[in-house]
């Protein structure tokens, strides 16, 4: 995944979406589904960030010859 600026906006959008969904589901009484959506959003965002950090460390290794 290329590293570009809208990655930050994607993560923030998912975060806000999950927060709203969680609030709506909690209000409508479905607690467990709210928890599920929160966890799902978190997993998606974590996958994106782990991939991003992996690219970062690969770049640093190549720049600083840290083998």
């Amino acid at each position: 995944m290329s590293v570009d600026i809208d990655l930050i906006f994607k993560i923030a959008a998912i975060g806000i979406l999950v927060a709203i969904l969680n609030r709506v589901l909690v209000q409508s009484g479905r607690e467990e589904i709210a928890m599920m959506t929160t966890l799902a959003g978190l997993v998606i965002v974590l996958l994106m960030v782990v991939d991003l950090i992996n690219q970062l460390f690969q770049t640093i290794k190549s720049i600083f010859q840290l083998y």
Partner: protein, 128 residues
């Protein structure tokens, strides 16, 4: 990729992180990590160009290459350690951050040891 763009990205990411902090603090942390990585990738090109230039100077001066590569490794380790410990501090985990810094210091010391020994040998040989 000038400084204005980098600063604007940093500010926007900070604002997004604050909005997320009330409901989902973990998402706010992830947004700040993503912003840090994106900003680093913006300067990575210029950083590697500068390091290539330094490499060139070192090669022309016929200095032993081992010293310069060790210095580069130390800078790389220092940067990664700083990156990790700063994020742990943002997340409120001060103890983990200090453990990461301790590990970074030990690794850097291990890397710097041969150079220090070389300097001592040089000094002792000069003294005789």
């Amino acid at each position: 990729m000038d400084i204005v763009q980098i600063v604007s990205i940093g500010l926007v990411a900070a604002i997004l992180a604050i909005t997320l902090r009330q409901q989902r603090p973990e998402m706010a942390l992830i947004v700040s990590i993503a912003a840090g990585v994106v900003i680093f990738f913006m300067i990575a090109g210029k950083l590697s160009a500068a390091i290539q230039a330094l490499n060139e100077v070192m090669r022309k001066a016929q200095l032993n290459n081992i010293y310069f590569t060790t210095v580069l490794k130390i800078i790389g380790i220092a940067y990664i350690t700083e990156f990790g410990s700063q994020i742990c501090k943002d997340a409120g985990e001060g103890s983990i951050a200090s453990k990461i810094e301790l590990a970074g210091k030990v690794l850097i010391m291990v890397l710097a040891l041969p150079i220090v020994l070389a300097v001592f040998d040089l000094i002792s040989s000069v003294m005789q």
